[in-house]
């Protein structure tokens, strides 16, 4: 039992660090410092992701044959940690970390050749069409219909919470191809070109107050949208199976490094913020206590993640641990963004809508807040989503409880 990396792993870590230092350039950094949600604008996202692709690191989880870097789990952990610790942008998961795996496993050869290289290189952006207005965490109740008409499906219905749909070239969605079948059967998995007539986008501006065109989520309306049958993944009616297959790739995000990055951000704020009567916030005992409380919780998550990623677990345990990390990880994201905002005190109140204006040379808004305070309060508002998306934390606790109440969960 030991905590140390091997010599090879240390060398890899240094290689990653060196690359980040050069690739994560001042423009990207400046954009990130103004980001309300961890993403850049589309141009920034594409720029960053293409840099990763050029280095061969765009798709850590992919098999080598499709362009993956052939890393060990520890290397993937190191890469994730280093990019998060440096505050790099989130890579949009919809293409590289989601639909690609389904295409690899269940797609036709033509689908693989047509889609995978463009996903790898961010030549095409993807979005995900799962949730619907009537079905939140209860996905099996989805209603959007796809009626077969010759060599097409005709789609009607609505999808919601579609991240960056306005940037997407393609969408992968779950649709109901058979109304007779029970809830989870009768669902198929389709890929649709976002330029297909009949698809319209309604932005759903989130609480962080994005400008038009940079909203994070959207509602989509499908009115008689024709999707060629060859854009179906696998068999008709087995969409739920493919979606479940995909779920395993959603697991295994390590939160620790992102949380440590947020801690560093808070320390930075506290060093800069005055505390009144000549003091600095970083010397304030109440701030220090609150900081330490959260930092210790981060240490605990980090330790549990290191232990988890360094060991081989059974399937049931992986599911439960993934629920657990989602719970504690998102609760800490929220708590840290809250402390960051409160550390700003009155400087947390001014609001800048077009936060990228300065970098992008758009008409600069009044900037009533110092640099270290930029977009901190919006991030707090934005992060409320983290305990809701991908299965609310209530559902994660239900799942975790099932595991705990099973004999496997607890050994006395």
């Amino acid at each position: 039992m030991n905590l140390d990396y091997t010599t090879e792993e240390l060398a890899f870590r240094d290689e990653v660090r060196a690359w980040i230092k050069q690739a994560y350039d001042p423009e990207l950094k400046k954009l990130m410092s103004q980001s309300k949600n961890g993403y850049l604008d589309k141009a920034g996202q594409v720029k960053w992701q293409k840099k990763l692709a050029a280095r061969g690191w765009a798709a850590p989880g992919w098999p080598v044959q499709y362009g993956g870097p052939d890393w060990t789990p520890t290397q993937r952990y190191i890469f994730q940690s280093e990019t998060a610790a440096a505050g790099c942008p989130i890579v949009s998961p919809m293409g590289i970390a989601m639909v690609a795996y389904v295409i690899m496993e269940y797609g036709t050869e033509a689908q693989k050749q047509s889609f995978l290289p463009k996903i790898l290189n961010t030549d095409e952006c993807w979005c995900q069409g799962y949730s619907e207005p009537g079905s939140g965490s209860d996905l099996a109740s989805l209603q959007m219909s796809a009626v077969r008409d010759g060599d097409h499906y005709v789609l009607n219905g609505s999808k919601i919470w579609t991240t960056h749909a306005q940037w997407a070239d393609w969408i992968f969605c779950l649709v109901r191809t058979n109304r007779e079948a029970k809830a989870q059967s009768g669902i198929s998995f389709l890929l649709a070109d976002m330029r297909t007539p009949g698809i319209s986008i309604r932005p759903l501006p989130s609480l962080d107050g994005p400008i038009d065109g940079e909203q994070e989520v959207n509602q989509l309306f499908f009115e008689n949208v024709c999707v060629p049958v060859e854009n179906r993944i696998g068999e008709e009616g087995l969409g739920w199976t493919y979606a479940k297959y995909l779920l395993q790739f959603e697991r295994g995000t390590a939160y620790g490094s992102l949380l440590r990055y947020l801690l560093a951000k808070i320390r930075h704020i506290a060093r800069e913020q005055p505390a009144g009567n000549g003091g600095r916030l970083i010397d304030d005992p109440d701030f220090r206590r609150r900081y330490a409380e959260l930092a210790v919780r981060v240490e605990a998550v980090d330790a549990a993640e290191m232990r988890f990623f360094s060991s081989v677990e059974s399937g049931a345990a992986i599911g439960a641990m993934s629920s657990m990390f989602k719970l504690v990880g998102t609760e800490l994201q929220q708590a840290l963004s809250e402390l960051a905002m409160e550390a700003l005190g009155p400087d947390g109140l001014p609001f800048v809508q077009d936060s990228f204006a300065e970098v992008r040379g758009r008409e600069a808004p009044v900037r009533p807040i110092p640099d270290h305070a930029a977009a901190v309060t919006p991030l707090y508002f934005n992060y409320r989503k983290t305990s809701i998306y991908a299965g609310t934390n209530e559902i994660q606790r239900n799942l975790l409880a099932r595991h705990v109440l099973s004999s496997a969960g607890v050994r006395g």
Partner: protein
């Protein structure tokens, strides 16, 4: 001991509630805060003229209705329920409150203007280095011919763009003075910006602004106790506003949970959500009661007044955070959009948490006051 509202107080509330129901629904509010101005002077005029509301807490000698802090709480709670951005707090509670307490010619001149809706005031006390400390003031008011020469910077002046006059704190000699300064005064520069709650605020810069001696509020160098008291009054008013907002957030959540189905049953049938709503209710009920208690203690000796105000600000800060976050969570995806009014209540509640000292600040103040005898 009596917690019942008088008939007049009930009438005040009902009148205002009824006006807001007609003229301040959420879509009207959304439209107004999206304009460059960010508020509706017409609403302000209505509050003054149609409702005679701006005189609620002022003695009859100034043309007021003879009420006091309780009346402010009643008004603020209703304004909180409707997410009203118009500056009752800055103009009536703080501006009018300071003038009334200082008394004299200034009060006689300006209170009637406030009551009539003709003077809109904003409180320019905060400076960046001070965080929440009321006494940490770098702006200076140096004696000048016939008055004072004002220099320095103020930040986060709520309702700044709408103000006709500012109440400005400045250091004069060893003490703090308070000056009533015209928004158009020469040497005063204003930089306006929106705030996270849909409001507007300003940073002010004073460069040799000349203020006549007649515009000194209270005695020279003796304003700090006045400012500390008005801050406690503002806190009570903000707490009442937050209580109004929390009522709406809880009511919306109960309604949503009762109607929205997941897995075939209403959300309200899930025990963890039931318990969350029970805890939200508990937080709200205690907040409402403590706000009233603190409001009734505003005339008590300074230490007792401050203890109650700080306790209320901590309680309401924590409750508003808990209720707001829980309401968003129970609303799921829709809770994190700007579509529903809920998110706007949540943002306003968040802003209130940071105004006049957040929970950490008031927890410390409370500890220092309550453990003082023990030290």
């Amino acid at each position: 001991m009596d917690f019942d509202y008088s008939v007049e107080q009930d009438l005040l509330r009902d009148t205002l509630a009824s006006y807001l129901a007609d003229h301040y629904d959420f879509e009207m509010r959304r439209a107004a805060v999206s304009t460059p101005a960010g508020w509706r002077p017409k609403v302000w005029a209505d509050l003054a003229e149609r409702l005679n509301l701006l005189g609620a807490p002022f003695p009859e000698e100034y043309g007021g209705l003879g009420g006091g802090a309780i009346e402010n709480a009643i008004v603020m709670e209703e304004l909180g329920k409707a997410l009203v951005v118009e500056p009752y707090l800055g103009t009536v509670v703080i501006g009018g409150g300071l003038l009334r307490q200082a008394g004299g010619a200034l009060a006689a001149e300006w209170l009637p203007r406030i009551i009539a809706g003709h003077a809109v005031l904003a409180f320019a006390a905060a400076e960046r280095q001070a965080r929440y400390s009321l006494g940490d003031i770098a702006a200076t008011a140096a004696p000048a011919e016939g008055g004072y020469r004002l220099n320095g910077r103020k930040t986060g002046v709520a309702g700044g763009p709408w103000a006709s006059q500012f109440l400005v704190t400045a250091r004069s000699g060893p003490g703090i003075s308070l000056l009533l300064v015209d928004a158009g005064a020469r040497g005063l520069t204003r930089s306006d910006y929106p705030t996270i709650d849909g409001g507007r605020a300003s940073d002010l810069s004073f460069d040799d602004v000349v203020v006549p001696a007649a515009r000194l509020v209270g005695a020279e160098g003796a304003a700090l106790p006045l400012v500390e008291r008005i801050a406690d009054e503002a806190i009570c008013a903000l707490c009442a506003e937050a209580v109004g907002g929390m009522r709406r957030m809880l009511a919306d959540t109960v309604a949503y949970a009762s109607q929205r189905k997941q897995f075939g049953v209403p959300l309200s049938t899930f025990q963890v959500l039931q318990h969350r709503m029970a805890d939200m209710y508990t937080a709200l009920e205690q907040s409402a009661a403590l706000t009233l208690v603190a409001t009734m203690k505003l005339d008590r000796p300074a230490a007792e007044r401050a203890l109650a105000a700080s306790a209320a600000k901590v309680q309401i800060g924590n409750a508003a955070k808990f209720i707001g976050q829980s309401a968003v969570q129970i609303h799921g995806g829709m809770g994190v959009t700007e579509e529903l009014s809920l998110g706007h209540y949540f943002r306003r509640a968040t802003a209130i948490g940071a105004q006049f000292g957040n929970a950490d600040f008031h927890l410390r103040r409370y500890a220092d006051l309550s453990l003082a005898d023990a030290a």
